[in-house]
């Protein structure tokens, strides 16, 4: 019987029945409506009259949307153009640079697989949507042990801001200075509140290339004039490089440019424990080398150059050494040297009875002596050579003087200051294209912001977790002061007494505010870090996802991505290719309840009595406009500059900002529409760059910023800086001597003696940057998880020895922790070394303490040496077949989703 029949044929009194039913429904509806409101976001509003009628499904026509330039704002250094097709706030398509010309010299700025996945940063299912609070955390009753495994509950922004403000106040009042460990956006409120907090510093990606300014060189990040420009590199006959793998780190033009040199005839010799995709692409001579032993190999090659150099077969550029260098022999010692040891006599073994022969080096670095001899001959003065050291080789403990040795080795062959010769760090930050910028981002101008007088006590990241757990730490600010100071390092260092060791202090840390920093993925010793997070009273995290770091927080705040923010797409030029400058603007509305870091700070500040004006009164749009208006571009002569953008009265009106009309090379509309300006290059133009040419030509009038003004094979200032920290027991010498690295090759043996038997952790482990991610960013993106499985790379030999076959789940163990991964067994890995890719988010099994996520920093430790360099690539491990359940592929692991 149909429902209508049922109603109309109801026996007794039909009318009465229908009436009664209507009354029942009415009463139910009233009661339901009175029982509470439905969440606002799940309500529809009537906003217009309906124009119903059509019963067909609305097809999604692509017309009516538009292509917009969006940012790929990560610190991979590629800096590529990404465009999204947006209709009605929804991203329907994505593409990259398809409008610029593309030839051998001027390349399109095409995005890599990560840039193509950027849309998932913006609209991923697992984006943080609301402020969340950990269920069992209440002020004063933190239940810290539950961090990382507790339940969550949704709270309002107002509640979140109130909790955070109250905790800042309580903790600061109760425990005083340095009770709050802060990073990134968190420091902003601290400063404005005039609170003294603890802040950690890192040499991070740079390793010991962080501050080679004392050695007279750029660091490759802040100071990018540390090598010749990419078009001059076409003239190199050889590139000899250490740890050089742009094909994984920075897949755009950084890789493309290296290929252009190869196509022009450059031969590549790559020292690396992995036969990398870069090596394959460049058809390079692969020199497998043990991690952390590059300095031994370099010393061995320097020895050969010295030994074999002769009139008939010159290898050394004596003219350059005598005119431009000090410390290489007894006759050319720098005035400030504290003893009379010189580099060549060190090579000869005069001071330690150990000549640094290739045979000596070979035992340490694993490169056959004959190979070292062969490469040493290539490095001779007659060849045009580029010597490139990636930052990766310097991300090892105790190799603080590696940059000094790279420069010395290059100086011996005279590969400095000439076309076709270069010596320095390669950093993908500048897309493998060095020299001063050809287009300079302007300034947003004064914002009216007040920064406050809060001050940070510094702790090195290599000590931070121990410091939180109560151990004394070194509070030096030396390194952070000179890092980025470049040629001005001497004036910055003014007040430091380098002869005095810095005394340790302790802090009583009760709160951690991570800002958006990914400390529990990107900093060493993450397992200890988790312990530290669980030990304090309050932890705040913020960001786009429930990242590993946010997972161990008490309150997490959802933050907008660059795609949702006005005016923040004008990215810091420091990461860029010198030829281009990208621009992007807000393209979609903030996702759910996400707010920018600044808005979050303001809300918290408000609860603490800070006025919103302290964050500045100039709008983001106005700042963006100011920056665009003051952006300048070099003219063809390579000397004079002009405005990039022509701006009219109408433009200013359309932007709704204040400003003056101006002349410029292209219209502001065109710049905004293209999303990029590229300076066109030609071989032989005036825009090239040869690093240290003036110095080479006339060193007296163009000194470099070392103490002596020359290249210092013996550098007292640098050694003093290292020793002033006091992290290492043994003093560093002015010469770049070989020091066995902490957790290095030697420590894979019992008693650190390579002549004896292998120890408990017989393998070395490195953390290569991996295609899936820019550091920890993108790890959660399903497309990339599918494309790049993130296994642990293991040599065939080591696999066979352990009964491991390709695809097995294996446990990688170090003294600091254990993690599981699938084995990728390959002949491309040097035996004795494994590669565990950098940046994975953890997935810790709380019962066993074993990470199932492959997080490399879960098994590194807090180890402080030398200048406090982050030594991610110094680690010894054991790999064993996992006898528990096999782990799933990352792409099959459910996303962590907070709604």
């Amino acid at each position: 019987m149909s429902l209508i029949d049922k109603l109309t044929n109801s026996g007794i009194s039909r009318r009465g029945f229908i009436k009664g039913t209507a009354a029942t429904i009415g009463a139910a509806s009233v009661a339901l409506a009175a029982s509470g409101a439905v969440a606002q976001a799940n309500m529809l509003d009537k906003t217009a009259e309906g124009a119903a009628g059509a019963l067909v499904e609305p097809g999604i026509a692509l017309e009516g949307g538009k292509w917009v330039n969006v940012a790929c704002p990560h610190n991979c250094g590629g800096k590529c153009l990404v465009r999204a097709y947006i209709k009605d706030g929804v991203i329907l398509r994505q593409k990259t640079d398809d409008f610029s010309s593309d030839d051998d010299v001027n390349r399109q700025q095409r995005a890599c697989l990560r840039g193509w996945s950027q849309q998932y940063q913006a609209r991923g299912l697992d984006r943080l949507k609301y402020p969340m609070k950990r269920k069992n955390w209440t002020p004063g009753n933190p239940n810290g042990h539950l961090r990382g495994q507790d339940e969550w509950e949704r709270i309002s922004w107002d509640e979140a801001a109130q909790y955070i403000a109250d905790e800042i106040k309580r903790i600061n009042e109760t425990y005083g200075d340095n009770a709050i460990l802060c990073a990134a956006a968190g420091t902003d409120v601290m400063n404005k509140m005039n609170i003294n907090y603890l802040s950690s510093w890192r040499t991070g990606s740079w390793g010991s290339w962080f501050a080679p300014s004392a050695l007279g060189w750029g660091d490759g990040c802040y100071y990018y004039d540390c090598n010749n420009d990419r078009l001059d590199m076409l003239n190199c006959e050889y590139v000899v490089a250490f740890g050089y793998n742009p094909a994984w780190s920075s897949l755009g033009n950084a890789t493309n440019y290296a290929k252009s040199w190869k196509d022009a005839g450059t031969k590549f010799i790559l020292f690396d424990p992995i036969y990398t995709d870069t090596a394959a692409m460049l058809d390079a001579q692969w020199v497998p080398i043990r991690p952390g032993t590059d300095m031994a190999a370099m010393l061995g090659m320097a020895y050969v150059m010295l030994e074999e150099d002769s009139q008939e077969n010159p290898l050394i550029d004596w003219d350059f050494l005598k005119r431009c260098c000090v410390g290489f022999d007894g006759e050319h010692m720098p005035a400030d040297a504290k003893d009379d040891q010189n580099f060549f006599d060190y090579l000869r073994g005069k001071y330690d009875d150990t000549p640094k022969t290739p045979e000596w080096a070979s035992q340490i670095c694993g490169v056959p002596a004959e190979t070292l001899r062969q490469v040493a001959r290539v490095l001779g003065v007659k060849n045009k050579v580029g010597i490139l050291s990636s930052w990766a080789t310097a991300r090892t403990y105790n190799t603080d003087q590696l940059p000094q040795l790279v420069i010395a080795l290059g100086a011996m062959g005279g590969h400095i200051g000439k076309s076709g010769h270069t010596v320095g760090p390669t950093a993908w930050n500048h897309t493998n294209n060095f020299g001063p910028r050809l287009i300079k981002a302007g300034s947003g101008g004064a914002t009216g912001a007040v920064s406050g007088t809060g001050a940070a006590t510094s702790v090195s990241e290599t000590q931070q977790w121990k410091a939180v757990l109560g151990e004394p730490f070194n509070p030096t600010k030396l390194w952070t002061t000179i890092a980025g100071a470049g040629p001005n390092w001497k004036s910055k260092i003014g007040d430091f007494d380098l002869t005095r060791k810095i005394e340790n202090v302790s802090a009583n840390v009760k709160m951690i505010w991570n800002g958006s920093a990914s400390r529990l993925t990107n900093a060493e010793g993450a397992k200890l870090g988790i312990q530290a997070h669980r030990a304090v009273e309050f932890v705040v995290g913020q960001g786009h996802f429930l990242t590993t770091t946010n997972k161990y927080s008490d309150i997490v705040l959802p933050i907008t991505t660059a795609w949702e923010r006005e005016g923040t797409g004008y990215i810091w030029e420091g990461y860029y290719n010198r030829d281009i400058l990208l621009i992007a603007d807000k393209v979609i509305e903030p996702y759910f309840e996400a707010k920018s870091d600044e808005e979050a700070s303001k809300l918290i500040g408000e609860k603490l009595g800070l006025s919103a004006d302290m964050w500045g009164t100039v709008s983001a749009k106005q700042r963006l406009f100011n920056a665009v208006a003051t952006t300048t571009v070099v003219k063809e002569d390579g000397k004079t500059w002009e405005n990039l953008c022509a701006i009219t009265e109408d433009d200013i009106k359309a932007w709704g900002v204040e400003g003056q009309p101006q002349e410029g090379r292209i219209s502001i509309d065109k710049y905004m529409e293209d999303g990029m300006y590229r300076v066109e290059r030609k071989v032989g133009d005036n825009l090239g760059f040869i690093h240290k040419k003036e110095f080479r030509d006339d060193p007296e009038n163009n000194p470099i910023p070392t103490t002596s003004g020359k290249i210092e094979f013996y550098c007292q200032a640098y050694a003093d800086m290292i020793n002033a920290h006091g992290y290492s027991e043994e003093a560093y010498h002015g010469l770049p001597k070989y020091i066995p690295t902490a957790q290095g090759y030697e420590t894979t043996y019992v008693g650190n003696d390579p002549k004896g038997a292998k120890g408990d952790y017989p393998l070395q482990c490195i953390n290569p940057h991996y295609q899936r991610r820019a550091h920890s960013i993108f790890d959660n993106i399903p497309w990339l998880q599918e494309a790049c499985a993130n296994p642990v790379f293991l040599s065939k030999l080591d696999a066979i020895e352990r009964g491991i076959v390709d695809g097995d789940t294996v446990k990688v163990s170090s003294i600091h922790g254990d993690t599981l991964r699938h084995a990728y067994v390959t002949a491309r890995m040097m035996p004795g070394v494994i590669g565990l890719p950098h940046g994975k988010w953890n997935r810790v099994d709380e019962k066993t303490g074993i990470d199932h996520g492959g997080s490399e920093n879960y098994i590194t430790g807090n180890v402080a040496t030398g200048l406090g360099v982050n030594g991610y690539n110094s680690l010894t491990v054991q790999v064993s077949k996992w006898d528990g359940d096999a782990i799933p592929a990352d792409v099959d692991v459910p996303q962590t989703i907070l709604f």
């Binding site: 009537k46 059509a54 949704r154």
Partner: protein, 226 residues
């Protein structure tokens, strides 16, 4: 249409509007005592019972799902709340995300083409989510609200004697249900059954799916009698 039939259709529309509003509410917000009491009240259950029939088991399933709420105490409410948090708020992996785009596109993401299609359906009838454009339009609770609102409009039309408008509104809903909800609710409810606890929402989802499956014949019957 005779007076009798008209009154019967009106009551059914009124009832349908109630059931959809009830589901919109239960899926759309964290549970509270009052809300659960109202959902399981005699009036509520009697309204649902109106739709019970052999061929369309959804209504009975819904009544079944609501029965345990009749004696809910504070502790049980707390457990149901936790179930809602786990299923709709996280943070442990969400076994069944409540958005259409997740099920109809290969990549589990929000704000997809299908989201725009849902938005256009709302626009045709003059509706917009209160959270536009920050919140995706295809949350299950929003889609149910849409149907409830259109049913209310249809009822209004009928009362004013605008039978063609009423017909149009019902036909529109039928297509919307076929092209959207029926595409993903079966998978949504199946995923819901994988939840760690099954106090309330897994059963409710199964009932929802069945009710929406039953909806086509119901609308056909209403249309036939107009």
């Amino acid at each position: 249409m005779d007076q009798q039939t008209r009154e019967a259709v009106q009551v059914l529309l009124q009832g349908r509007q109630y059931v959809l509003s009830l589901l919109h509410t239960l899926f759309g917000t964290e549970p509270a005592m009052e809300m659960l009491r109202a959902a399981a009240s005699d009036d509520s259950l009697a309204t649902i019972a109106l739709f019970e029939a052999q061929e369309t088991p959804g209504a009975a399933m819904l009544r079944e799902a609501l029965m345990p709420l009749r004696q809910v105490d504070e502790e049980q409410l707390g457990n149901i709340r936790q179930e809602y948090t786990n299923l709709f708020l996280g943070p442990r992996e969400l076994v069944a995300p409540p958005w259409e785009s997740v099920y109809v596109t290969r990549d589990r993401a929000l704000f997809q083409e299908s989201t725009l299609a849902v938005r256009q359906w709302y626009q045709r009838y003059g509706y917009q989510p209160a959270g536009y454009p920050r919140y995706p339009d295809d949350h299950i609770s929003l889609m149910l609200h849409f149907l409830a609102l259109l049913t209310g409009e249809a009822l209004g039309c009928l009362r004013e004697g605008r039978v063609d408008d009423c017909r149009g509104l019902l036909e529109g809903q039928k297509v919307f249900v076929q092209n959207h909800l029926l595409h993903w609710l079966p998978r949504y409810q199946a995923d819901m059954q994988k939840a760690e606890t099954a106090l309330f929402y897994p059963g409710l989802s199964a009932a929802l799916c069945q009710i929406i499956t039953d909806d086509g014949p119901l609308i056909d019957e209403l249309l036939a009698s107009l």
